[in-house]
């Protein structure tokens, strides 16, 4: 019985955190739309800056969409723990009896739901603008869905490390970007290979493996980093 009530409370606490964070996100609509607008504008710059030729854009499309999705995710990371840190609710969470792993996990999940998922859903539109061939759309969606989730998880560690710094944003990108490189490589190459008619099972499997590893390790590291940041 005791076991069962403990499981229920972990689950209900997890759901309560998700509900709360979603509510907070819903009340800051600008923060929700800004990464998407950034994504759109940044992708628009490429045809203007490089070349509007279809033959060039076809070649670059998978990489452009992936790099810009990465940057858009990065842009929204800084806010992941920031407001909770500033108004003191983060400390309340750290001293609460709830399992912290799930609290952090809930925050990361909500971050993905409000940044990674919209970016993923918007990517096909940008793919269309960049003349992405028809075979590339489904791989783009799947690889971005898997990849942005990994990026939210890895990025959470960086966000937790820099939360106590007043100007942590640039530093955050500096320390997180190198860690994103494997995700970028396999994500973009999945789309590339699909366009050329190749198999994409290997790339998606690797992205899935990254995600699994990140789910296990990243919340633990983020949690440790949050404890350090809130003590100092």
């Amino acid at each position: 019985m005791a076991d069962q009530s403990a499981t229920t409370s972990v689950l209900s606490g997890f759901l309560a955190s998700i509900r709360r964070d979603l509510l907070v996100a819903a009340r800051h609509k600008a923060e929700l739309t800004n990464p998407l607008v950034f994504f759109l504008i940044a992708v628009t710059l490429i045809p203007l800056g490089v070349s509007p030729e279809k033959s060039v854009l076809v070649l670059l499309a998978p990489g452009i969409v992936w790099v810009m999705a990465l940057l858009a995710t990065l842009l929204s990371l800084d806010g992941l723990f920031r407001s909770d840190y500033e108004d003191g609710s983060l400390e309340q969470m750290l001293i609460s009896p709830q399992s912290l792993y799930f609290t952090v996990m809930a925050k990361i999940l909500v971050h993905w739901l409000v940044s990674g998922l919209p970016v993923t859903l918007m990517a096909p539109v940008l793919g269309l603008m960049l003349h992405l061939p028809g075979d590339g759309f489904l791989p783009l969606l799947t690889s971005l869905a898997l990849g942005t989730a990994s990026m939210s998880l890895i990025g959470a560690v960086g966000a937790a490390l820099t939360v106590s710094l007043r100007k942590g944003g640039l530093l955050l990108s500096l320390i997180v970007m190198p860690l994103y490189i494997p995700v970028l490589i396999f994500g973009a190459s999945a789309v590339q290979s699909a366009i050329q008619g190749g198999a994409i099972g290997m790339q998606l499997a690797v992205l899935g493996a990254f995600l699994a590893l990140a789910i296990v390790l990243a919340p633990i590291a983020a949690l440790g980093a949050l404890k350090i940041s809130s003590n100092g």
Partner: protein
């Protein structure tokens, strides 16, 4: 009893005093090894049948690259030791290892680039090895930036230890991923399990150079750490005594 040395490592003063006599030895050994290897490798080793004399940069490039990687693990492991056993000294080692590692990574990138020009005909190629070294360089820079960002030393230490550990998980992943992505760099020529593909007349000076670089690395790391110890313990009596006696 066997663990006593480990507990003593928690004391910066003990470390500072015990390592003092090592310094001249390490200096002599690393200079001897590096000079021997340099003279042997640069003057007496035969020229490569394909690359001519240009291959000789291997005697700097390979040891620097070895230590750039090993240095990251040294940094991450000392960070982990500091976090787990809550000791002061490992954090000082970790902090000292970051700039040294960054410099070594930079040296291996630059020498690789100089080597690449005559052999591959290009200064830079987005090849797996080169790219992963560049990313390693970025990881080091991130470590240094994070360490410098905090006002509070304790937070800086612990945060950068977490970052070093996260990076340590990522290094093999990055290495493998860029490896599958694209490749031009020659495969490893020194193998420990099977016969090396490099001729012994070239291999021996290289091995001596690698050992010499390891000794040199140990020396530099010790020196950096000792400076860090003095800086952090500058309010203690023993450091003040030390300074008073040296005057």
């Amino acid at each position: 009893m066997a663990w006593q040395w480990f507990h003593r490592l928690g004391s910066p003063r003990w470390f500072y005093e015990k390592t003092s006599p090592w310094l001249p030895w390490l200096t002599v050994i690393s200079i001897a090894l590096i000079v021997t290897a340099a003279v042997w490798g640069l003057a007496f080793a035969p020229a490569d049948y394909k690359q001519g004399n240009s291959y000789r940069i291997i005697y700097i490039h390979v040891p620097a690259a070895f230590l750039a990687l090993a240095g990251y693990y040294i940094m991450a492991i000392s960070g982990a030791v500091g976090l787990i056993w809550k000791m002061k000294l490992p954090f000082m080692v970790m902090k000292s290892a970051a700039p040294i590692g960054a410099i070594l990574t930079f040296i291996s990138l630059v020498t690789g680039s100089i080597w690449g020009k005559p052999t591959w005909g290009t200064w830079w190629e987005w090849d797996a090895r080169i790219t992963s070294m560049l990313i390693l360089f970025f990881l080091y820079l991130g470590m240094i930036a994070l360490q410098q960002a905090y006002q509070h030393r304790d937070t800086a230490d612990k945060s950068s230890a977490v970052l070093a550990l996260v990076g340590m998980v990522n290094i093999p992943i990055i290495y493998k991923s860029v490896d599958w992505w694209n490749t031009l760099h020659q495969p490893a020529t020194i193998k420990f399990t099977s016969k090396s593909t490099i001729d012994p007349s070239m291999l021996y000076p290289l091995l001596i150079m690698v050992i010499g670089f390891y000794c040199f690395y140990a020396l530099v790391l010790l020196l950096y750490t000792r400076v860090e110890i003095l800086r952090r313990e500058n309010r203690t009596q023993w450091v003040n005594d030390l300074i008073a006696n040296n005057k």
